[in-house]
C-alpha cells in the first residue's frame, strides 16, 4: 500500500471528502446517543438548541468561544512552524495569574491596570513557552513532552498559590484569588448583554495573526521553517530565531485567553478556570486547517458543541463527554479527509 498524489483533484473530491468527514462525525454522535438509549435526532436537536436556540444560548457560545479563539490561534501559529506547542493550558494559566496579580496587588486605576494586565499576561505566556523552545533549538529537547509536562507543573503551582500567598482571605476557605476591582474588569461590548471585550480582542488578534502570516517577512519565514527547516536554513532564514519569535507569539496568544477569562468573565483566579481550553485549542486549530480566520469559525463551532452538549445532558440521559468524543472524532476524520483530497491509497 502506498500513497499516490492525485494530479488534479476535482471539486467532488476537495469538497465531498470534508463533507463526508462531517457526516462520519455525525454518525459517530448518533451511535453514541443511541448507546445511551436516547433518540439521536432529538439529542442533536437539544445540542443545537442549547448552543444557539436563544439569545442567552448564543451569548454563552460566544463567551465560551473567546478563550478558544485565543488558544486556537496560539496552536495555529505554532503548528504552522511545526513547533508543537501542547502547553497552551500552562500559558493560559500564566496569563491568568499575572492578570490577577497586577489587578489585585498593585492598586492601579482601571484604565492603567487593564492594559498593564494584558501586557503582563502576554509576557508571562511568552516566557512560559520560551523555555521549551530554547531547549529545543539549543539542546534538541523535544518540545511536545516539555510543554505537556509544564501543564501539570503549572497546575500545581497555581494550586499552591491559591492555597497560600494568593488566597482570598474573604474566600470562606475556598482556594481562589481575591477578585479584581470593578474598574479593572473588561467592560461589556453592549450594555446589558453578557459579552465582554475579550471577544472583540480575540477577533482583532485573529485578524492580526492573519496579517502577520500573509503580509510580513516573519509570516513567510514561519511558513518556510514549517515546510522544510533544512531548506529554510539553506535559504538563509535564521531558523532558531524564527522559532523563538513564533513561540513568543504563540505563548502570548494563549496567555490572553487567561487574561480574557479573568478580566472579562470570572473576575478571579481558580484552579478550574480552564476546563482544558489549551488542549481544545489544538482541535480548534486543526479543524481550521491552521488558518487564523478559520480559527474563529471553528472556535464558534467547538464552543457551540460544548455549550450545546452541556445543556443537552441536563435534559437527556446522555453524558456531556459526548462533546469531547465528537470533537476528537471530527479531528481525526478531518485530517484524513484533507489528506485524501490530494492523495489516494493504492496497492503495491
Amino acid at each position: 500500500m502506498r500513497l499516490e498524489p492525485i494530479p488534479a483533484p476535482g471539486p467532488a473530491r476537495t469538497l465531498g471528502l470534508p463533507a463526508l468527514a462531517i457526516a462520519a462525525t455525525v454518525a459517530v454522535a448518533a451511535l453514541l446517543a443511541a448507546l445511551a438509549g436516547a433518540n439521536p435526532l432529538q439529542t442533536f436537536g437539544l445540542i443545537v438548541k442549547g448552543a444557539a436556540g436563544s439569545r442567552f444560548a448564543m451569548l454563552e457560545t460566544l463567551n465560551r468561544a473567546t478563550p478558544l479563539i485565543f488558544t486556537g490561534l496560539a496552536v495555529a501559529v505554532a503548528f504552522r512552524a511545526k513547533l508543537w506547542n501542547i502547553g497552551a493550558e500552562a500559558q493560559l494559566y500564566a496569563g491568568a495569574l499575572v492578570t490577577v496579580v497586577i489587578g489585585t496587588q498593585l492598586g492601579l486605576p482601571g484604565p492603567l491596570a487593564i492594559p498593564l494586565m494584558a501586557l503582563g499576561a502576554i509576557l508571562a505566556g511568552a516566557l512560559m513557552l520560551l523555555g521549551p523552545v530554547l531547549l529545543k533549538t539549543r539542546l534538541g529537547v523535544d518540545e511536545v513532552v516539555t510543554t505537556l509536562l509544564l501543564n501539570f507543573i503549572m497546575a500545581l503551582f497555581i494550586s499552591w498559590l491559591l492555597e497560600g500567598p494568593l488566597k482570598d482571605p474573604m474566600g470562606m476557605g475556598w482556594p481562589k484569588s481575591p477578585a479584581l476591582p470593578r474598574d479593572a474588569r473588561l467592560p461589556r461590548i453592549v450594555e446589558g448583554l453578557r459579552l465582554h471585550w475579550g471577544f472583540a480582542m480575540a477577533l482583532i488578534c485573529a485578524a492580526g495573526v492573519w496579517l502577520i502570516q500573509t503580509r510580513t517577512t516573519l509570516g513567510y519565514e514561519i511558513r518556510a521553517v514549517g515546510q522544510n527547516p533544512q531548506a529554510a536554513r539553506f535559504a538563509g532564514i535564521p531558523v532558531g530565531r524564527v522559532l523563538v519569535k513564533t513561540a513568543l507569539l504563540s505563548g502570548g496568544l494563549a496567555a490572553l485567553a487567561g487574561f480574557s477569562e479573568v478580566a472579562g468573565l470570572k473576575g478571579n483566579l481558580t484552579s478550574d478556570l480552564s476546563p482544558g481550553f489549551g488542549y481544545t485549542g489544538i482541535v480548534v486549530a486543526m479543524l481550521a486547517l491552521l488558518h487564523p480566520l478559520g480559527v474563529v469559525v471553528s472556535a464558534l463551532f467547538v464552543a457551540g458543541i460544548f455549550v450545546g452538549a452541556d445543556s443537552m445532558s441536563r435534559a437527556a440521559e446522555v453524558p456531556t463527554y459526548i462533546a469531547d468524543i465528537l470533537l476528537a472524532a471530527a479531528l481525526l476524520f478531518m485530517v484524513l479527509a484533507i489528506l485524501l483530497t490530494r492523495f489516494r491509497l493504492v496497492r503495491g
Binding site: L35, V145, L149, Y321, V335
Partner: protein, 315 residues
C-alpha cells in the same frame, strides 16, 4: 537527612518503588516498541486511560482479573490499530493523530463510565490483584516485604522487559522492527513490508500501554477515577528518551523515577512536609522528567526514521 535515610531503609519504601514503577514499565515498553519501529505514539496517555477503565469495568461486571487484563489489552490494541492506520499507510502527522487518539480514548472511557454508572459519587471498588505469596521468599525479613510482596502484574511488568529485550535484540523480527525505525528502505529491500512491521509494533505497543493503565485500577488502586492517569503517559515518553530507546535502561529510569515518587510521598509526612507545600512534592515527577530529557539530549540515539512516514517508491 536522617528522615530520608529512615525512609530509604524501610521495606515499605522499596515495595512502593516496585509498585509505582510497574505501570510505567508496561507503558514505557509499549512506547519504546512503537518508537523503535519509527512511530511516535502520543496516544499513550489516552490508551492508558482506556486500559484502566476497560480492565476495571470487566472485573466490576463480573469478569476475572486476568480477563480484565486481556480486555484492557484488546481495547488498547484497538486504539493502537486506529493510530497505526492513520499514521502508517496514510502517513498523517504523528503528533496530531497521537493527540487525537488521546482525546478520543480518554473521552470514550469517561463516556462509557458515565453510561455504566450514571449516579455514583463514590467510585465503586473491585477486588484487585493480591500480593503473591512466594513460599520461603515472602517470609524473609525485610527482603520479603520489600521485594516479594508484589502482585502478579508487577512480576509480569519485569517479565515484559525481558521479553521485549529478547525479541528486539535476539530475533529476526526484532531486527526488522529496529530497521523499520532506522532505515526503512533497507527493510523494503529485504522484501519485508515496513508498513506491516510498523502497524504491528503500534498495535502491540498500545496493548502494553493499556495494561500499564489497567495496573492502576486493578493492582495499585481498586477503583476508576477521572484523571487518574495524570500525565503518566507523557512521563513514559520522557522515560523512553531517558533510556536511550533501550529496554534495560528504560527499566532503570522507571525504577529511579518511581523511587523519587515514593520518596516524595513519604517526605510529605515528615518535618519537611510542614515547611514545604505539598504541591512542590507533587511537581517532582514532572520536573524530573524534564530534567531527564535535558540530561539525555546531548547523547540521544534517536531512531533515525522516527516520525518519518514511509511511502514505498519514494526517496
Amino acid at each position: 537527612m536522617t528522615e530520608i535515610l529512615d525512609i530509604l531503609i524501610s521495606a515499605s519504601f522499596w515495595a512502593a518503588v516496585l509498585r509505582i514503577a510497574s505501570p510505567l514499565i508496561f507503558a514505557t515498553m509499549g512506547e519504546l516498541i512503537c518508537e523503535r519501529a519509527g512511530v511516535l505514539n502520543l496516544g499513550i496517555e489516552g490508551i492508558m486511560v482506556i486500559g484502566a477503565f476497560a480492565g476495571w469495568m470487566t472485573v466490576y461486571a463480573g469478569g476475572g482479573l486476568w480477563t480484565g487484563v486481556a480486555v484492557a489489552m484488546l481495547a488498547g490494541m484497538a486504539f493502537g490499530a486506529l493510530h497505526g492506520l492513520l499514521t502508517v499507510p496514510f502517513g498523517l502527522s504523528q503528533h496530531v493523530v497521537g493527540l487525537g487518539i488521546t482525546m478520543l480514548a480518554t473521552s470514550s472511557a469517561y463516556y462509557a463510565y458515565r453510561l455504566a454508572l450514571p449516579e455514583v459519587t463514590n467510585p465503586p471498588r473491585i477486588a484487585p490483584f493480591q500480593p503473591l505469596d512466594i513460599p520461603g521468599l515472602s517470609d524473609l525479613p525485610w527482603i520479603g516485604q520489600a521485594l516479594f510482596s508484589q502482585t502478579a502484574l508487577t512480576w509480569a511488568a519485569f517479565a515484559c522487559v525481558a521479553v521485549v529485550t529478547f525479541v528486539l535484540f535476539r530475533t529476526p523480527l526484532g531486527l526488522a522492527l529496529r530497521a523499520a525505525g532506522e532505515n526503512p528502505h533497507a527493510v523494503e529491500a529485504q522484501g519485508l513490508s515496513v508498513g506491516a512491521i510498523r502497524m504491528g509494533a503500534v498495535i502491540v505497543g498500545s496493548g502494553l500501554m493499556a495494561v500499564g493503565g489497567a495496573f492502576l485500577t486493578m493492582s495499585a488502586f481498586s477503583s476508576f477515577f477521572f484523571e487518574m492517569v495524570n500525565g503518566r503517559g507523557w512521563i513514559c515518553i520522557a522515560l523512553v528518551v531517558f533510556g536511550a530507546w533501550k529496554p534495560g535502561k528504560a527499566l532503570l529510569g522507571a525504577l529511579l523515577f518511581a523511587g523519587f515518587d515514593a520518596l516524595q510521598v513519604r517526605l510529605q509526612q515528615t518535618g519537611m512536609g510542614q515547611i514545604v507545600p505539598y504541591q512542590v512534592f507533587l511537581m517532582i515527577p514532572y520536573l524530573l522528567s524534564i530534567l531527564a530529557l535535558v540530561l539525555m539530549s546531548r547523547r540521544a540515539e534517536v531512531p533515525a526514521a522516527l516520525m518519518t512516514p514511509f511511502n514505498r517508491g519514494e526517496r
